[in-house]
């Protein structure tokens, strides 16, 4: 959620340096706008009688994105920098740790990959385990147990309770 503090306040006049990450983000928005513009021009128009064709809105959106990206870049070059969001569970002074989110993402993608061969229960249990681990829990037996129970309950709730089809994987025939 946004930080209500205006960011101009975050830029002390004594330090007019340019924040490289902010600049990359701003240029990313510009790039997105450019890619959209190219993509919009590649949309095929049909032979139907349409007053407003399929390209018009994409063009408006891409030009808008491009313009906003340029404004953001100008701001960053003037020394504006974004203040990371503060939340109840976060510590603004803590050193930024990219290993934990990386681990969560890795666990999520691994679980996704194994969702069909191993089955839903094990796939989601892997996800559960990595998140709990990344959040600092080290009682491995406990996490593994909770992960399996949560995954199993969810599976049964969705398949038995709501009649959805989720992959059973290696538990096929048992569940």
């Amino acid at each position: 959620m946004p930080d209500p503090v205006p960011h101009s306040a975050a830029v002390p006049s004594s330090r007019p340096s340019i924040s490289i990450p902010d600049l990359l983000v701003a240029l990313g928005v510009v790039l997105l706008g450019l890619l959209l513009l190219i993509g919009s021009n590649q949309i095929a128009t049909s032979g139907m009688n349409t007053v407003v064709g399929p390209k018009v809105f994409p063009l408006i959106v891409s030009v808008g994105t491009l313009g906003l990206g340029v404004l953001l870049t100008i701001g960053v070059l003037r020394g504006h920098r974004a203040e990371p969001a503060t939340e109840e569970d976060t510590d603004p002074n803590a050193p930024v740790n990219l290993a934990s989110p990386g681990l969560i993402l890795g666990g999520f993608l691994l679980g996704t990959l194994l969702l069909q061969p191993l089955g839903f229960v094990f796939g989601t249990a892997i996800m559960y385990f990595t998140v709990a681990y990344a959040f600092g829990e080290r009682r491995y037996g406990l996490i593994a147990g909770v992960a399996l129970v949560v995954a199993l309950i969810t599976y049964l709730l969705f398949t038995r309770g709501l009649g959805l089809t989720l992959p059973a994987g290696i538990l096929k025939g048992i569940l």
Partner: protein, 498 residues
Amino acid sequence: MDAITSLFAGFETALTPINLLWALVGVTLGTLVGVLPGIGPALTVALLLPVTAKLPPVSAFIMFAGIYYGGMFGGSTTSILLNTPGESSSIITALEGNKMARKGRAAAALATAAIGSFVAGTIGTMLLTFAAPAIAEIAVQIRPEAKFSLIMLAFVTISATFGGSPLRGLISLFLGLCIGLVGTDLQSGQARFTLGRPELLDGIEFVTVVIGLFAIGETLYVASRLRKDKASVIKLEGNAHMTREDWRRSWKPWLRGTALGFPFGAIPAGGAEIPTFLSYTLEKRLTKHPEEFGKGAIEGVAGPEAANNAAAAGVLVPLLTLGLPTSATAAILLAAFQQYGLQPGPLLFVTSPELVWGLIASLYIGNVMLLALNLPLAPVWAKLLLIPRPFLYAGILVFSTVGVYSLNNSVFDLVLLAIFGVIGYGMRRFDFPVTPAIIGVILGPTAESFFRTALQQSNGDYSTFVRQPLSAFILFIVALSLIVPAVLKARKQPVVSG
């Protein structure tokens, strides 16, 4: 009055023990699926269609109505507690509701949501009982020009309401608009930005975007700068229940939210989302505690929650009187009627009065049941936050994943979810508000479709937007809200920085 005698007959139908039981099953199930992200009332009713073919229609519809209202109640719970909106109409609830919960006031937030939902649901049902045909006749006259203008109004207010600066709010909104462009264009049948993937032809499910940006993004962000010093659970401080002050600050937003929500529900393609956005903006303007907005203002929960429940009641007006579904759930309910060989519409009140009035009566009963179910549950739900963080965040992630996966049974959607999670992380890191992006995803395609429909119907006459009185009026307000703040700002300080 005719309506009153019919309503009493309806209560006789609905108050039989067996139908009360179905109503209870419905509201419980509805609350449950509302709580689960991704699984909403529409999908639940759809999944239950074959099961209920064996029930008599009155019982089935009483249960469906319970699921429908229950889903609206339950959607707020996940928003408030876990900052993961279960339904599109509870996105706004997460803004202030989750901040309240994090300050230990989860129970009060849940209570104001529940009571607000009850008030709005009951008033909405009364309007449905006594004024349905008249409202429905007016609602269909609202033209796409006016609906397009309304969305423009929503865009303007939203970009000014959220985020540290309008620029960052606008970038977020445009990101959402970009996401909304993906998929087959309804009007011309052409694929747009699908990168050759057939999975993208239907566009990106908004649930995937919401859960990616909110739940996954937040999990990644919190993990990157985890607070280690403090206790790892959220404190449940005093004021667990609503105080006198809370009541005093809630009742007006409830009524205003109801007034905004009901008409939007009744308008075809009006939806429950726009009124929640407008209600939030309105409460932010009117509040005596502007400093609390963004930090857990109770008005910001009370208003939008009332608005989305009033909209839910509004949706039933055109459905029952004209056979006109105006939301996804309504479309499924229509399918349910057809399953029984019934056609909702002008004749339904004549051909199956027992069904219609039983259904309407059950809405009153369902609302009371939901209040009775949700108020005592509020402190119990709030205790969910006592779960240690590693287990809580892991649980949120797993539930979110199931919600997204079960929509299409597609691994592709989970990969998209991860991508949106990373974007959500970046938005938090670089101070972009998440909500405008979601609004862009929901309203962008609708805005485009209304715009093009209006021009197609008028065969290319652009002046149609200002020749429609309602549309012209709304566009005038849009122009005012763009010009007035700029003029005021320019007078106060000559230099305006972005």
